[in-house]
């Protein structure tokens, strides 16, 4: 652990003092473990502490620190009777982390975490359900449970997966390494035996997951949790976007953006679009706000006709 600055040590000490003072001689080893430092670091800090107190620093005005038999007592530090309140960033960080775990499919809404969060929110002066809200995207509980077990025990899983970009269902055997949430969606990263490569799967697009009897050796190096990486040989499409469709630039990994000369705020963007259905959805949603400049000009029209067929039959 790197040496802490005086500011960091102050922060720790302001938490250690009230905790120790409220107890009858806790063991140094326990205090050190609890506050994440080595015993000798803790003793260094405590030895400074008993020189501290209030003006004029006569013995009766100093904090009393007693270290004996591996235990520590702190007295006469009434002004440090309570820890420093949480800063807004700390309060938010803890509430958000807790709400995130509670938003995990399968979390116990009445368990210790929920109770602890309610108490914490009360101490921060906010309502637990009102102040911070986290949605991580939906994921079927049963699928989630199977995936977690498979990760924990390194067993293969057979999944029925909806390939969003190609609009088709596939069955694959995968070696799952991590289940995680990013950008508001749940993913499982896994080695996919169908394509013999590492893949990310969105958990909400897995219809069924079956734990198989076969184990696998978990990867030794943690995998990068990147959600989409365009490959150099993915097909590219160039679109001309009205200002109303400018959000595309923020939302997708576009590779080139240039304003259209005299185009009233229109831009021309190039993006990797390896998958037909993905691009169909994008174009259908954008409607008149986008035009394909380079790529399949008929794609959106074809998709629109397919959908319209439903409406005309019905």
């Amino acid at each position: 652990m790197p040496r802490l600055s005086a500011d960091d040590r102050l922060q720790r000490l302001l938490a250690v003092v009230p905790w120790v003072a409220a107890r009858e001689g806790p063991r140094l080893a326990d205090v050190a473990a609890r506050f994440g430092c080595r015993e000798d670091e803790l003793v260094d800090d405590l030895q400074l502490l008993f020189l501290c107190g209030l003006h004029p620093y006569t013995p009766d005005m100093l904090i009393d620190v007693d270290i004996a038999d591996g235990r520590v007592w702190i007295r006469y530090a009434d002004y440090f009777a309570r820890p420093l309140r949480l800063t807004p960033a700390e309060g938010l960080g803890l509430l958000a982390a807790g709400r995130t775990l509670l938003a995990t499919p399968g979390a116990d809404p009445n368990g210790p975490l929920a109770r602890g969060l309610a108490k914490l929110a009360g101490a921060l002066g906010v309502g637990v359900d009102e102040a911070v809200e986290i949605s991580l995207g939906s994921a079927p509980e049963g699928v989630m449970a199977v995936l977690r077990e498979a990760v924990a025990t390194s067993h293969q899983v057979e999944i029925e997966y909806y390939a969003f970009g190609r609009d088709e269902w596939t069955t694959r055997t995968v070696d799952p390494s991590t289940v995680f949430s990013a950008s508001g969606q749940w993913y499982v990263s896994a080695w996919c035996h169908l394509v013999d490569d590492e893949r990310l799967f969105r958990v909400d697009r897995i219809r069924t997951a079956t734990l198989l009897g076969t184990g696998f050796s978990p990867p030794t190096t943690p995998r990068e949790l990147a959600v989409y990486r365009p490959r150099p040989d993915d097909p590219r499409v160039t679109l001309e976007l009205d200002p109303a469709a400018a959000w595309v630039v923020e939302q997708y990994p576009v590779e080139k953006v240039e304003p259209v000369a005299g185009g009233g705020g229109r831009v021309r963007v190039t993006l990797a679009a390896s998958q037909r259905a993905w691009l169909e959805r994008l174009l259908l949603r954008l409607g008149p706000a986008a035009r394909v400049v380079d790529g399949d000009q008929e794609l959106a029209a074809g998709a629109a006709r397919r959908i319209l067929d439903r409406y005309r039959d019905g």
Binding site: A6, L10, Q11, L13, L14, A33, R34, G36, L48, H55, A77, Y79, P83, L86, P88, A89, L92, G93, L94, A96, A97, G98, L101, T104, P112, L113, R115, G116, K119, L120, G122, A123, V126, D129, E130, A131, V132, E133, S135, L136, A139, P140, R148, A152, Y162, T178, F180, D204, A277, L283, L284, R285, A300, A301, A303, R306, I307, L308, R310, Y311
Partner: protein
């Protein structure tokens, strides 16, 4: 003398002060500052900054009514002391687990847990990593400031979509990968939602603490098609069997109006933002169909027809 010692004495002196202490009084009471005036002032400024960084509520105020232009410093105990949440060991352990399983950018969970009583040594071995869902929450500008304002119930001001706003902040939400603030917009006279990465200025305090009542309870995460100002309608949406599971997961099981024999579902979806609803439906390509009301269905047909002329 060690700087840590001086900082502890400084916090103790400011907490015990019954009235604001002037800079000269502090200098007199605190050993360890330099004799030289300029050096002392620099060191004192640095110490003040360090305390504020840690979140110590250091206030600067006039000494008393007789000396309105002489300023002094103190730390009010009620603003410094953490209200004891009274956490049971299992609750503290659960919070600890949450802080280690969820990485939130820009927030240090460790210092917060120290204040709440530190790590639980008796908790036993940490659960296997594989069994813990790992999530990463991105940070965003203004998050901490806004959370502070929410807990103080203090109005804030910032620019958004080119207009200055004054807002009673109610709630921070993380949805579809972005942070949003919901609150009462004084200009609009209604609840509004703002994406934090689109805030165009600093966020500043725009009123006193406790100036509005606690926020109304949040409804479940509001989907985009309910975040508009259009005339509310209830759309009936048919979704084919292959996509039904995930559509229901998205809009909630309460919305299922009918489950058909072939496994498809009819969902009743309240809509106030028609473009957002259209985008949602188009995401299903030809696996979903707007059944009604008739004008909503007609709009969808018209939108699609415009894209395949002839």
């Amino acid at each position: 003398m060690h700087r840590l010692e001086r900082l502890i004495n400084l916090v103790a002196a400011l907490l015990e002060a019954e009235r604001p202490l002037t800079i000269d009084e502090l200098r007199f009471r605190l050993p360890g500052y330099a004799e030289n005036d300029a050096t002392f002032r620099r060191a004192f400024e640095r110490d003040k900054e360090a305390l504020r960084e840690l979140g110590v509520p250091l206030v600067t105020e006039p000494l008393d009514v007789l000396h309105p232009d002489v300023l002094g410093y103190r730390v009010p105990k009620d603003a410094y002391y953490l209200r004891d949440p009274g956490l049971e060991p299992d609750e503290l352990a659960a919070l600890h687990l949450a802080a280690s399983a969820v990485r939130m950018e820009g927030a240090d969970g460790v210092a917060a847990l120290w204040k709440l009583g530190g790590e639980l040594a008796e908790q036993g071995p940490a659960p296997a990593v594989g069994s813990v869902a790992v999530a990463a929450l991105p940070g965003a500008d203004h998050l901490a400031v806004l959370f502070g304002a929410i807990s103080a119930r203090r109005p804030v001001a910032f620019d958004y979509h080119g207009r200055p706003r004054r807002i009673d902040p109610w709630r921070l939400s993380f949805r579809t990968g972005h942070w949003y603030l919901a609150g009462f917009d004084h200009g609009a006279g209604a609840e509004r939602s703002y994406r934090l990465d689109r805030v165009e200025s600093e966020v500043t305090a725009a009123g006193d603490a406790n100036s509005f009542p606690p926020a109304p309870a949040a409804t479940a995460a509001t989907p985009a098609w309910e975040m508009g100002e259009g005339e509310p309608v209830v759309a009936r949406l048919l979704v084919d069997v292959d996509q039904a599971g995930w559509a229901v997961g998205f809009v909630g099981a309460d919305s299922v109006e009918e489950r058909r024999e072939d496994g498809s579902v009819v969902l009743a979806v309240p809509v106030t933002n028609r473009p957002a609803f259209r985008s949602f439906v188009l995401g299903f390509l030809d696996h979903a169909e707007v059944l009604g009301p008739p004008d909503l269905r007609a709009e969808m047909v018209e939108w699609l027809e415009a894209q395949c002329p002839g």
